[in-house]
């Protein structure tokens, strides 16, 4: 019963701030609403019994990704086009289409018999790290995927630096480097 009350409160916060993202005019307000939505989703992860995932959600999503997004919004002054209308004529077709799609999927979900299993394992730090770094021959082998993710993040960082730099090796970019 108590879990249900917590879930309803967190779900209302999550959906409400998601609607705020949809309706806010300034991107910075949208980003802050998105942070609220992500934090309440982290609470739901904890409620469902995956506390490690909730902590990672707060650290990576609400911390790193949203910090990056907020930083870019403030640097680029993302609100300069706030005079143009938020929605255009295409939205008239898109929004009902998405709502109908969600209704169909929801109907299929409600018809399916799913229920919580009592024997499910709580995803604590110990059990998650043991699964993730199980290097045994017969293990699940997630550690290989983990290494690949390290390479992926490194290459993403390199690509971002290459893309966002003015022009590689030009006098202009080298001059700005000297200034910093």
């Amino acid at each position: 019963m108590l879990a249900l009350i917590y879930f309803i409160v967190l779900a209302i916060i999550a959906v409400g701030s998601a609607v705020c993202v949809l309706l806010s005019r300034h991107p910075l307000y949208g980003a802050l609403s998105l942070v609220a939505s992500m934090v309440s989703l982290a609470g739901i992860y904890g409620l469902l019994g995956s506390p490690f995932l909730g902590v990672v959600q707060i650290m990576v999503y609400a911390g790193a990704i949203m910090m990056l997004l907020t930083f870019v919004i403030m640097v680029l002054n993302g609100a300069r086009d706030s005079k143009t209308p938020m929605f255009d004529k295409v939205s008239l077709f898109v929004i009902p289409a998405v709502i109908v799609l969600a209704g169909l999927v929801g109907f299929a979900l409600v018809r399916s018999p799913i229920a919580f299993d009592a024997a499910t394992i709580r995803g604590s730090v110990a059990i998650t790290s043991k699964t993730l770094f199980d290097v045994a021959q017969t293990g699940p082998g997630y550690f290989v995927l983990f290494e690949v993710l390290g390479v992926l993040l490194l290459s993403a960082m390199g690509a971002a630096v290459l893309l966002a730099k003015k022009r590689l090796g030009s006098v202009d970019s080298e001059k700005t480097e000297d200034n910093h």
Partner: protein
């Protein structure tokens, strides 16, 4: 009244739908990125919700895969924002409708 597994899935579905609407119908390019992030979040929630319906050992998988999905989302946000900076420098606008130089 107890917390049912279907409630989690319905919440994930609602957040995914809102994220999809934000990504497709908003014009500001930052909101497009935020909608994608919202939809990714909803998918992670759905993963965890389904993992809790599985018995013992099978339920760990559904709690490890969202970790990878979060890491891929971090890489996606990194590259996506770099592309936004690049396009913004050329076009001087954040309205996604003005990015039409690849239109045939």
């Amino acid at each position: 009244m107890e917390l049912q597994a279907i409630y989690v899935q319905i919440l994930a579905l609602v957040i995914f739908a809102i994220g999809l609407i934000v990504a497709v119908s908003r014009r500001n390019v930052f909101f497009v990125l935020m909608g994608v992030e919202l939809a990714l979040n909803a998918v992670n929630l759905s993963f965890v919700g389904f993992a809790k319906t599985l018995p013992a050992d099978a339920s760990i998988v559904g709690q490890v895969v969202p970790l990878f999905s979060i890491a891929v989302a971090a890489a996606e946000a990194c590259v996506g924002l770099a592309m936004v900076i690049l396009i913004f420098r050329n076009r001087d606008s954040v309205d996604a409708d003005t990015y039409s130089n690849m239109k045939g």
